[in-house]
Symmetry: C2
């Protein structure tokens, strides 16, 4: 980094510090908009959130387009609506500079007080150390940091060292409908994504207290299937014993997916996973991680397998897993009925070598075979499949090097290079379609409880994270 660059960055970082309360105010406004993308009834709130961001981008001097033309989704009252707007924004168009595209998402997971929140989930709560509220960490906080960085460059009177593009979507928690299509469209037409040199994504968290750069993500394959038989829900006294019950069939099929310990037990899937090499095993040695402290902080009663760093991290990062998210029945829970139709939703987190189409085929075959084994007169249907690949970046390329130096500039020490158990399907779409390097620059913490109740973000992570983003722009400019 040139001396001049250092001085300029210091001015920007100072401006970021001056603007911290303003950032908090924006976070409060954003959290209050209940942009829950997987609830069709809250589509209007997703649109409202996109308008809020477009107005802010324009006020900061950016060009912004809100694109809804590449897909449709379920809207209020059973309607179909265009996908929540995907915001494509541009700051600067200087052919002598590198062009960086930062991705974020403004939609959030559902949240309700009844699920264990200590305060209303859509009202920002502030303690000495934390911000509480849905989206503070995933991903409204990081998304707003990018805008704070631009604001700081403006206020410090420092010219941005790169052309900065922003891609903020509103369907990340619901399958990113329309985004992959839009990226393809904008590549083929030599549009928005065509001149991007590097892509950076802030939508994950660090492993522990140390800052991290993330080079791997698990993929996700979501499935929903149903078993139905009787035309109507039946009285369990009148029909019990005679009618073949969809729920017991469904339970047998679900049970076939895992072994007694809860491990994924679909042989065709497990066979795809690469064995752990000695070289890979050594990568884990350098990572600071205390599995006992982690389990305790996570408030889980134990871990699958041994309580060792290697076992826990490998189970999080490099082995597949299956979670059953819910089971629905067509009859009232308290009624002593035989439900006529039962539906289950589960997902599998996938790892390198598990090719999405092969995963889809293997799971569908397993489900159908498991149902066929039951020799049931009921009907089995697969209702929904959503598959996205996992991601592995090249930690030695310029993008990762810039991310490493940016962290060092702000924190004074090397970041840890980690993988992540969660899925950011768009990372792989961006990498595959644009063929550019994608780097994940997490600014959130491991205890943020994203997707669960009492989602939070450490104040210092939000404020330092914005600084790392500002420094990254300087570092990537010279890459």
């Amino acid at each position: 980094m040139a001396v001049n660059g250092v001085a300029s960055l210091e001015a920007v970082l100072h401006a970021l510090e001056q603007g911290e309360r303003e950032l908090v105010g924006h976070l409060r406004e954003a959290v209050a908009i209940e942009s829950v993308s997987n609830d069709p009834e809250r589509y209007p709130e997703c649109v409202m959130m996109s308008k809020y961001l477009v107005e802010r981008i324009q006020a900061l001097g950016g060009q912004a387009k809100a694109r809804s033309d590449t897909g449709t989704t379920d809207g209020p009252g059973g309607s179909r609506v265009p996908v929540s707007p995907i915001i494509l924004a541009t700051f600067g168009n200087d052919a002598s500079k590198k062009t960086v595209c930062a991705y974020g998402h403004y939609d959030v997971m559902p949240a309700a007080l009844s699920e264990g929140w200590d305060s209303p989930p859509f009202v920002l709560e502030e303690t000495e150390e934390l911000f509480h509220g849905r989206g503070t960490s995933d991903d409204k906080g990081p998304t707003l940091c990018w805008l704070a960085v631009i604001d700081a460059y403006n206020k410090a009177g420092v010219e941005m060292p790169v052309n900065l593009k922003l891609c903020f979507e509103g369907r990340e928690e619901a399958g990113s409908d329309g985004l992959e299509e839009l990226i393809g469209l904008e590549m083929r037409s030599e549009g928005f994504f065509h001149d991007v040199d590097f892509i950076v994504i802030s939508d994950s968290g660090s492993l522990g207290a140390k800052p991290c750069v993330t080079y791997g993500l698990r993929g996700i394959a979501e499935f929903e299937f149903s078993v139905s038989g009787p035309a109507d829900n039946l009285h369990s006294g009148v029909y019990g014993g005679v009618a073949r019950e969809p729920m017991t069939d469904l339970i047998k099929v679900l049970s076939s997916l895992t072994d007694e310990k809860g491990n994924l037990d679909v042989p065709d899937l497990n066979a795809m996973v690469a064995p752990v090499s000695e070289e890979e095993r050594r990568l884990y040695e350098d990572i600071e991680f205390d599995p006992v402290a982690w389990a305790k902080a996570s408030k889980i009663p134990g871990v699958n397998g041994e309580m060792t760093k290697e076992n826990v991290l490998m189970r999080k990062w490099r082995f597949p897993t299956l979670s059953v998210h819910g089971i629905k029945a067509s009859s009232d829970y308290k009624a002593t009925c035989i439900p006529a139709t039962c539906t289950a939703r589960f997902s599998i987190r996938t790892v390198p070598k598990m090719e999405p189409k092969a995963v889809e085929r293997a799971v569908e075959k397993h489900l159908k075979d498991a149902f066929d084994t039951l020799d049931s007169c009921n009907q089995f249907t697969i209702d929904d499949v959503l598959v996205s690949d996992c991601f592995l970046g090249d930690v030695n390329d310029n993008n990762y090097s810039a991310a490493r130096r940016a962290n060092k500039a702000v924190y004074g020490s090397e970041p840890e290079f980690i993988r992540e158990g969660g899925s950011v399907p768009i990372a792989i779409s961006l990498a595959n379609i644009t063929r550019k390097s994608v780097c994940l620059l997490p600014i959130c913490g491991p205890a943020d409880n994203i997707h669960g109740p009492n989602e939070s973000m450490l104040k210092k992570n939000l404020f330092q994270g914005a600084k790392v983003m500002a420094a990254y722009l300087v570092e990537i400019a010279s890459a």
Copy 2:
């Protein structure tokens, strides 16, 4: 029956015919009151329904008490409230007459348009042949018939041949809280139930088109259990593979309860069931029943085991069965979470020789053993158990003979003597505590779809059923 009795009965039956539209009007009023007993929020509607009945009883000249002093239950907004009033009514107190107690219930199962109803469930719909609406068959229709019978005796100017007592409860679909206690209290204090000679219950249906008298009912044992572990719902990407998932444990436990065909597979329970004797098998030979037509009319895609009369009836009446009614998760169905707590509700229909306490012990042991086998760090709890015995009456006693003759008087032919797969727990409580004969006099049909959507009652069953009740009072008077 004396000639005089015949003439009197004819006048009463004529009055019943004259009053048919009035009965329909009352059924319409009763269906409109959403007295869903297992929804605490609708406790006020249950109380309203009890008031409606008390007013009608008093208008007909009866003495009525509404008793809420023998139990409490969940009320609106998390409150505890007295049980919905149990109506104890008396018509006549002539020591020279027999005293008959008729039981009915004014509460209903939940119902919602979204569960497949063709019209609003709490609005009586009338077609040429049918009444549609929640409670038309189970059990508001039959309950109102008793009042129509009293009205007809009054209007015909015929003295009732017995002292008639009515016991109408409002918690039948939710465990009959407080009723057993009340029967015991009224027996010990030589109160309401003390001088009853015969008990008659109209809360079941015929097997086919032929009128029936029911001498057996399956019992029911309901269970709810939970598996919990993490303090909060977890992100399935961050924790999947490491955290032991309550849902997969719960599915394994549920799966252990049935075999691949959906048959109850709890060896300790199956061992309790008496083998089928040759004598018993012969009882089935006389019954008119077409299993193919029955399955078709029931709109079920097939039956467990062979499509024979014996297999289907035995599975309905004399073998136990297990139904899983629903599974709840602490996280949103669409969220890719690991739910922190999962809960399942199931019931077992029980048959003679399955003693309730032994059933409870065997099921609890099976559940705990199944969970222990998983060697899980999660926590297993049994949250709710509700067990009631099955019922077998003596088809040769005076009560059943009167029921047989009453059917013959109205229909001109012998009724079929059947058992029923459903449970009327109060039948066994009444039999056990009062030590009097309990006879089930069904007036409903096999296609009424009680507990399910589009519950209905054939018009002719309602009107002829009231006549059988009127004739039964004459027949039992001379027993």
